[in-house]
Symmetry: C2
Amino acid sequence: MRVTITDIAKKAKVSASTVSRVIADNPRISTATKEKVLKIMEEMNYHPNMIARSLVNRSTRIIGIVMPGVAEQSFKHPFFPELLAGIASMANKKGYKILLANVATVDEEKQMVEELTLSGMTEGIILLTSRDQDSSLEQLVAEHFPFVVIGRSENPYVNWVDNDNFNIGYQLAEHFIKQGHREIAFLGYSPGALVTRDRLNGYKKALQDHQLAFDPELVVESKFITDNGYDLMKAFLADGGRPTAVLACDDYLAFGAIKAIHEAGLAVPTDLAVAGINNVPLADYHNPPLTSVAINAFSLGTKAFEMLRTVMKNDIQSYNRAIIPADLVIRASSRHELHGA
Amino acid sequence: MRVTITDIAKKAKVSASTVSRVIADNPRISTATKEKVLKIMEEMNYHPNMIARSLVNRSTRIIGIVMPGVAEQSFKHPFFPELLAGIASMANKKGYKILLANVATVDEEKQMVEELTLSGMTEGIILLTSRDQDSSLEQLVAEHFPFVVIGRSENPYVNWVDNDNFNIGYQLAEHFIKQGHREIAFLGYSPGALVTRDRLNGYKKALQDHQLAFDPELVVESKFITDNGYDLMKAFLADGGRPTAVLACDDYLAFGAIKAIHEAGLAVPTDLAVAGINNVPLADYHNPPLTSVAINAFSLGTKAFEMLRTVMKNDIQSYNRAIIPADLVIRASSRHELHGA
DNA sequence: CTATTAGGGACAAACGTTTGCATAAAGTGG
DNA sequence: CCACTTTATGCAAACGTTTGTCCCTAATAG
């Protein structure tokens, strides 16, 4: 049996309430008894029972993170741990703990969100599932439960923090354009994912700003966001696609694409320039080193937590949104001026 | 105010205990009232308060994971999320939630472990910090609190699950030896980390089994386990080191090393064969594709959770240990028979 | 020297459940 | 038709805290 507050009280010959107030450092307790009680607490290695405490003050100091299941490739992606690290570091600093809930299906997500909010376990949650039409969101909104989502949402009542995906697309496209590229493939567009839509829009805008026409043929769709760059690029090339540059929606896609390009007997960046997004640690070690965009996932996490806190504090929801700036990192895979253009 | 069990009770004109028994599907409640109560629960969107429930039955269905802080590079390493995914998937299946606690320092760890165990929040914990002499461990052992550590421990009273590091070292070394290599550098030995010690021992044993002498000069020490392969290799080569193969303790180390090797005007694998450990997703995309050893971090996680559960169930500790087998994946970076040897 | 006040601490209710026990109603056997 | 068992439900205590309120003692003021 663990040592409780009454055990301490008995040993110190005071009441439980006094002990409680000692813990809370309540000024109504004389320093004499405070010291006495603290000493006994120390001796008996007492730690307050969080469950009981939570029950009375309706506060657990726990936030929930709901993330897409194991099945998804994204789990292996460095983006995820970095984001998590950002959230965790901030949460830690503020004395919050993190309840990690990974869900495999949409139904599971809905159920998990319901449980997390209604069971009193968490004081707020962060959602990593940026599906477009998310029924959990509406529920959360209706319940006035504090939450923020990672990734943009079009629902006006949700707080979110996102990468600057539009700008990412824009910057990369412009980078290519400035080097004389005109035929820039966009690899990895996934209609369901807002992320890639925003990136594509940035890409289009860059074209437009430089008086270039948008060619839908250069957009290569992909169902998943990561793993199949090799297949996509291979098929694209086999199909007669001959861009001078490839803007891949993810570094992994880019790596795969480069492999396919090499197999096709072409060289990067001389025949084809390539860039990815996310700036994974290996982008620098790749051969050739890969131009990419640092997404600053860690900041995304810290920001998300901060936002969640403000939402939790103000009962009045304020509907915040934040966009984390990204940094273009130019490496050899795209460092080649085009001549003919 | 959230809807409580008494709200349901009132509406259903029964007592709270009846509702409670309905939730527990207690056979002593007639099906008639069961249905009635369930219907009302549904209508009012009732979810039991986990905190209150935990308080009375002293069971939170939460396990804690204590992991080294954000600062550590390892956080970005795919090993971590995979492990986490393994734990999470298993936990999910068994109806457990995960409390993620990341600690920056050893002191913080000690404190966190203490809090997690004594506050009643978690029913068991998994430790990711495989430092050698860990004071938290002794505490946990003394308190008979259920826990398992990821990574071997020499304390006989701890349950652990680990990679087969000895074998990993052995297999890789043997792989090189069979190709005629005699001068195999061991890159990334870190005296503090059991992991690398075990791997080094495997490497030594392989040498011995093939009647080769161990040359300490070929062991390159590194403080961190991941990031500085480039610097290490560069310095090693500059120092006159001329192995024919490099066994790196981590794929990232290997990538860095290869970069240094290329810069030195040498080719992989013809001048120098290289292999890493962990089989990160990019090993296959690297140029040349990197020979590595799949560590099966996911299995590590599932196994850890299973072990934790058995420890939690049997109050009698059983001191289990498990070793997850690893799989050698041979790729181009080491696919080159040595002639002269 | 009495009346008032301030300080320090105790009491008890409350948080939302679960569960052992009591009890009322209904069914069963002799 | 009575005694007894079974079935279905309610009562109340308990889990370990926090916190509003009350009480006692001693100090201060008039």
